[in-house]
């Protein structure tokens, strides 16, 4: 009986010890991914910002610009792309919608971002775009890969349609969570006018005919939770100028927008709670279960060996010895 129990324990010991590395290095990279149907919104506010009044073509101070950013996973589009890409793909349709203090639209930029659900590497397919312009992204956007490393990443800038490094600037504590701080600076770059302009009757093409050009610079800051790769907080110091052309009435340049956008407090709290919960799930696959199973395997193996040792028959009884002389027969 003891021997049977010992063998069962041995089987379980091998089972758990094998599960440990399999979970971490086989199941984790295949099972943990961004869900294709994710829906997420985010609100950023730029207080005391500068905004161009297109009626007077003069820059004015405004109390607040609010930017609403929505990401919506398009499951049908991702399934379509997966047929040719041969891997799990996520398609995010996003909209960055900015409005002034009066509630009027300031900017509305749609995007389609296609990427690998596991690694966040960009996937190129028909429909990938920024504001209706076809693009081929390099690098990441919005989110970092799972198990983010302490290094610089390539980050796609949707305004300039360029990829530039986003630098790892150190590890910090953000509301009790260990985060990696990343920063990217995009120097003054000529960028296209948005397709949807804030004033009716003005189009990208009509502005282009005036010879006026749009320039942009930004400093982008992200605090990223490294296990999930999800930013828990973000800020952007964003400036836009219109330069040259007949639209400015002889002026060399005019500020179209200048502001320091920060995540709204209630969204910060919501994001921190969401990331903490997702972090536990990822840690379950990368750390808690693999280490737990390994420990359990070792424990069961030890128990099995112990039972096996105790169950063995003792040393054979010593052979009977006698000092008496053999009887002598007559």
């Amino acid at each position: 009986m003891r021997r049977k129990v010992s063998l069962i324990l041995l089987a379980f010991a091998v089972f758990f010890a094998t599960l440990s590395p399999l979970l971490r290095w086989y199941a984790f990279p295949r099972l943990v991914k961004i869900p294709a149907n994710q829906y997420q919104d985010m609100v950023l506010e730029a207080k005391d910002a500068t905004l161009l009044d297109y009626g007077t073509m003069k820059a004015e101070k405004v109390s607040k610009i609010t930017i609403v950013q929505t990401l919506k996973g398009n499951v049908e589009a991702s399934e379509q792309i997966e047929k040719t890409a041969g891997r799990d793909v996520v398609v995010w349709d996003s909209l960055s919608y900015a409005q002034g203090p009066d509630g009027k639209m300031v900017a509305s930029i749609p995007e389609r971002y296609i990427f690998d659900a596991h690694t966040q590497e960009p996937v190129h397919a028909k429909g990938e775009m920024v504001d209706g312009d076809a693009v081929e992204r390099q690098g990441i956007e919005f989110k970092w890969p799972f198990l983010t490393e302490k290094r610089d990443y390539e980050y796609f800038d949707a305004q300039a349609r360029v990829t530039a490094p986003i630098h790892y600037k150190g590890t910090q504590d953000f509301r009790g969570i260990e985060v990696y701080y990343f920063e990217q600076t995009i120097d003054w770059t000529k960028v296209p006018f948005p397709r949807t302009m804030p004033v009716e009757g003005i189009t990208r093409e009509s502005v282009a005919r005036t010879g006026t050009t749009r320039w942009y610079t930004t400093v982008r800051k992200f605090w990223v939770e490294p296990v999930t790769g999800a930013p828990v907080y973000g800020e952007e110091i964003h400036k836009e100028e219109l330069r040259g052309g007949s639209l400015l009435g002889g002026r060399e340049k005019v500020t179209a927008f200048a502001g320091h956008a920060k995540m709204r407090e209630d969204y910060v709290e919501h994001t921190v709670a969401l990331v903490e919960s997702n972090r536990t799930l990822v840690l379950l696959m990368t750390s808690y279960l693999p280490w737990g199973f390994l420990a359990l395997g070792i424990l069961l193996l030890s128990l099995s060996l112990y039972l096996e040792a105790r169950g063995r028959p003792g040393d054979p009884a010593p052979a009977r010895t006698t000092t008496e002389p053999d009887p002598v027969t007559a």
Binding site: L7, A13, T18, Y39, V75, E76, Y97
Partner: protein
Amino acid sequence: MRALIAAATGLALAFALVLTLTALGTPTGKTSPKPLLTTVPAHP
């Protein structure tokens, strides 16, 4: 010999479990009916 069979059984079960789980994968769900926002939400 019995010990070897027990160990092999544990090994095979572990592989079978993980391979089955990864083959099943995770459900993709459906596209959210919620719109891309053009108004400021009151809360998350």
